[in-house]
């Protein structure tokens, strides 16, 4: 295959990764930005989203689209509620102390992983995509003497993958609108800017925290529901998104939503492209080294305004 078609394909595959990564990372970034909490269990909320999506799809039955839509609604809500409950019962009681939160969320990670293993089992299970037609990608080329459109066999993307990209974009717009335009968003931003002052103005900071923790986990779950028709649900699937989401949040600047989305695009695309042309491991080595170096020389991230 030639370089051009390869590049388009790699870019599209990268965009799918970027879309899901952006959802997961924005969830992590919200939690970190507003609550100053490093949530190690974030990847497990992602995994729970995928697993619950499988259960819901099994229960609904009928046309795959029915189950998928139900999962899209139910999984984030359930995961969000679980996370909010964890916030109230554990994180609130240790007063969001950074070190203790890390230990507590590691504990949470173990608990969620083990409970999933015990109930769901070690198998990887797929959720059927609601639609999955192959979309041939047109490619223009010179044939003998005239310029025309070719459809080289073997490289095409499914309509579902394109849908993932657009769905993630829509949700991210929704999150932005919530933060910038609604009263809830205002309360969150106020809490983020100055917790004590917000408290003094009568903002129910504790409820805002529980809400933010729930929304953050819900976004991760949503990303996972979108990915299960492409990758299967598995009880260990939360580890890699956690690391990648960390990378993205840091590169984008702690607590900066536009930065997080841009960084997700950057990491997703470069991961897709480097993986296709070199090797996936090399792509990850480069990405992690890059994050390390970005932080060393610009601890506030590319788009951050504050130091951590």
């Amino acid at each position: 295959m030639e370089f051009g078609p390869h590049l388009i394909l790699a870019t599209l595959e990268g965009a799918v990764t970027a879309a899901v990564l952006a959802l997961t990372a924005v969830g992590l970034s919200l939690v970190f930005g507003v609550m100053r909490v490093v949530n190690i269990a974030h990847g497990e909320f992602y995994m729970l989203g995928a697993v619950i999506a499988w259960y819901v799809a099994q229960m609904v039955g009928g046309h795959p689209a029915l189950g998928f839509v139900a999962a899209l609604v139910i999984a984030p809500l359930v995961v969000g509620a679980l996370a909010a409950a964890a916030d109230v019962t554990i994180l609130k009681r240790i007063e969001y102390d950074p070190e203790r939160t890390i230990v507590a969320t590691i504990g949470l990670l173990y608990i969620i992983q083990q409970l999933t293993l015990m109930t769901y089992g070690p198998e990887a299970r797929p959720v059927e995509a609601p639609f999955n037609t192959r979309v041939e990608l047109p490619w223009f080329d010179w044939f003998e003497t005239l310029f025309g459109m070719a459809q080289p066999w073997g490289w095409s993307i499914t309509s579902y993958k394109l849908f993932v990209i657009f769905a993630a974009g829509a949700v991210l717009c929704g999150v932005w609108a919530m933060m910038a335009r609604t009263k809830i968003g205002l309360l969150m931003r106020a809490t983020q800017a100055d917790r004590d002052m917000a408290l003094a103005f009568g903002i129910p900071v504790e409820r805002v925290y529980a809400l933010v923790f729930g929304i953050g986990a819900g976004l991760a779950a949503l990303g996972a529901v979108l990915i299960v028709p492409i990758q299967q649900a598995h009880y260990l699937m939360g580890v890699e998104p956690l690391l990648l989401a960390f990378i993205v949040v840091i590169i984008g600047g702690l607590g900066s939503l536009p930065g997080t989305v841009l960084a997700a695009l950057f990491i997703g695309l470069s991961d897709g492209i480097i993986s296709v042309f070199f090797s996936p491991t090399l792509a990850k080595i480069l990405a992690t080294l890059l994050v390390g170096l970005v932080l060393v020389f610009r601890p506030q991230g590319l788009f951050g305004t504050r130091t951590a």
Partner: protein
């Protein structure tokens, strides 16, 4: 600074008990305690940076793996005998720790945590990338014939126990001496209030650099010994999990206490060991224990003893 009799008695007492245990323990626990002592040495190294200097690193698996692979690869590919291989492993760990310190100490707080995590992850992926030499996840076995140190076969349980005890004793006493020395006191001061220490005219950067190199070197020594004593090196030891383990052990036992790392490692090891005999859900029990600990004993087991019973515990 002179050591109080009680302090010295307590710490030397632990070493004497561990030494004596070797003659009474049944084979299974004998092996366990040897393993715990090596892992506790790793935790001791971690504690110097995290517990005493207040720097939360999530990248110590890099040092552990540097020691393990520095030792293992030279034995495997360069035909070294164990003694120089151990030295190579420890030196590799010190160099890696120094290099990472130069970069990571430019940051603080959460950024420091993530920088160390990222470089450790890059190190782990590098081990996988050079799978041709390192055998990646699968790892490689160090043959019994390659594990004979000065005529002592380290695969023999008794010799292994002595070697683990020796390593632990050195690390443990060094950490006791270090935190009671002028250097160690300065580290504790940096943990409590770095700004003030700097205003008093101390070079806090140099102190933190020193702490990271010492901590990384001890961790590398633990890694090198682990590989040699148990005859195996694999990429898993460089993964995030192995950075989180010493953090858990130290927090569980009590960060910033000399005894803490050992107590935490022992406790966690047997918690998982015993519960996995009862149920397969040992991770659930470990998770619940962690959450319960953060809720009810935030200073760890030894930390609670210090808070309630003996204020002068180092």
């Amino acid at each position: 600074m002179s050591m109080g009799g009680r302090v010295l008695g307590l710490h030397l007492g632990l070493l004497v008990i561990l030494f004596a245990l070797q003659f009474v323990l049944p084979a299974y626990h004998h092996g366990n305690i040897a393993r715990i002592m090596v892992l506790a040495s790793y935790a001791v190294g971690y504690n110097i940076l995290f517990g005493y200097t207040g720097l939360l690193s999530l990248g110590h698996a890099l040092f552990f793996a540097a020691g393990m692979y520095g030792m293992g690869l030279t034995i495997q590919h360069a035909g070294f005998t164990p003694a120089p291989a151990l030295v190579v492993g420890i030196v590799a760990g010190a160099l890696v720790a120094g290099g990472l310190a130069l970069l990571a100490l430019r940051t603080a707080g959460v950024a420091f945590m993530i920088v160390t995590l990222m470089f450790a992850q890059a190190g782990y992926l590098t081990i996988l990338y050079f799978g041709e030499y390192t055998r990646g996840d699968e790892g490689f076995v160090i043959q019994q014939a390659q594990r004979v140190l000065w005529g002592i076969d380290l695969s023999d349980p008794t010799a292994r126990y002595f070697a683990a005890w020796g390593l632990f004793s050195v690390c443990f006493l060094m950490s006791l001496w270090l935190v009671r020395s002028r250097f160690g006191r300065t580290l504790i001061a940096i943990r409590e209030n770095e700004e003030r220490v700097r205003m008093l005219g101390y070079d806090t950067y140099a102190h933190k650099l020193g702490a990271m190199v010492v901590s990384g070197t001890i961790s590398a020594a633990a890694g090198a010994f682990y590989g040699l004593l148990f005859g195996y090196a694999g990429a898993t030891f460089g993964s995030v999990q192995y950075s989180i383990f010493p953090l858990l052990w130290v927090l569980l036992g009590g960060a910033g206490t000399v005894l803490g790392p050992f107590v935490g490692t022992l406790f966690m090891f047997y918690l998982i060991d015993l519960s996995s005999g009862v149920t397969s859900a040992y991770m659930l029990i470990a998770g619940v224990a962690l959450v319960a600990l953060t809720l009810f004993a935030p200073q760890g087991l030894t930390g609670e003893v210090r808070r309630r019973l003996w204020k002068g515990l180092p």
